[in-house]
Symmetry: D2
Subunit: 131 residues, 4 copies
């Protein structure tokens, strides 16, 4: 499991006084940096591979400015060319949001999906968890 | 159905050359302004009602900077205190993203959900569509 | 002068109840789309020319969610390879923010600035104003 | 001097392949969290004090996704009710952006500026630097 710590920003709140709901996908994406690095080791956009097919977020509890946030990121399922990232956001040890992101390994030049290479699949499997 | 036109911004793209996937929930939220106004006619945050419980997005096709985008927003289902917004994004008449957002009518002071008032329910029903 | 209309988004407010100050540069950039198009007619990032050297913003009055905003964008000064964009944001006919942005016409492959072509200079000059 | 470390996010880049220029004010604001806490110890928006009057940014060098960024934040000048924050962004030990932010200590209910309290002034002074 990958753990990413984030310090909320004023600009990430909204007028209702909490973290705006559109900030959550931004934080979840920030928690996937190490997964992006698996597919594109130099993190250059020229060699970018992963395309997001679906995102789903359950908003469980309000998040606030002023207290550190932890993103938990792991792998839920691995298919032939796609896989599911599972992710949770905690603040003060309480679950605040939970989501999934389905990525496809994609050749952006040929415009077609590609099987996930075995060496990446092996690493992804070490980050699989049941829940 | 509500239709909202948006001109993409450079800041909404990412290094892969397209609109970043975290921009989509921001645009979908922008398309719900008239729904927010139904529940909070003066749009003041002091009287804010709606809390997002779940968002789901299918990314169908890349979106680009430089071409106007249309958000289609309608109502999919109305429960006692919650309802589902359905939404699509089109660019050059092609479907690029499709989502749902589940909102709860919530009393932020008493911290409990509230039935949707009949006069709002009636208006929401005029924006219901099957798909 | 270019005029761009923007409908504020919930995600652009912050906990203090107004539009967050980091939203202002985003709106100003949105107001420069037609200037970007002058230098890169197809608006493709492969052919992108303009690099921002400086931005300055005076925050004059709070901006609010719920009321349309107008961006005024014009040209203040044209040098050999650089030029200054001047810009203002109005809400309900009141000036709320005022800024300048200094852009350099830049060859991103050769990594050096380039003179502004005469045909673009002529068009920029039609958008010059004293203030 | 305050130092804040930030891991760039994909959503903070733009189609030109670098960090978008509108991300810089967001990062600078993130670097001011400890200054906000001086004026509003519980960081609640109900008790918020500081209003931004001016921001100025020099863009010195492109910033990239994939490499940690450091924000340096210090105090440049303290007036009666206002003060100037000075700030720089470094990536791989190279200066990439430099800015100032002028804040006013403001009573949001009475809508008037207030002198900076002596105990806060004393702490701000320990963060003053010449440059």
């Amino acid at each position: 499991m990958y753990v990413t710590k984030i310090e909320p920003r004023v600009s990430e709140t909204d007028g209702a006084g909490h973290i705006n709901n559109t900030t959550i996908p931004i934080w979840f994406e920030a928690g996937r940096n190490e997964i992006f690095r698996l597919f594109t080791p130099d993190l250059s956009f020229k060699n970018w591979k992963l395309v997001l097919a679906n995102m789903n977020v359950d908003f469980v509890r309000e998040l606030y400015y002023g207290k550190e946030v932890k993103i938990h990121t792991w792998i839920g399922r691995i298919g032939n060319s796609s896989f599911v990232v599972k992710e949770e956001i905690y603040q003060e040890d309480m679950l605040c949001a939970r989501g999934t992101a389905t990525y496809v390994n994609y050749d952006l030049k040929r415009k077609q999906s590609q099987p996930i290479p075995d060496e990446i699949r092996d690493i992804l499997q070490t980050h699989m968890m049941e829940n």
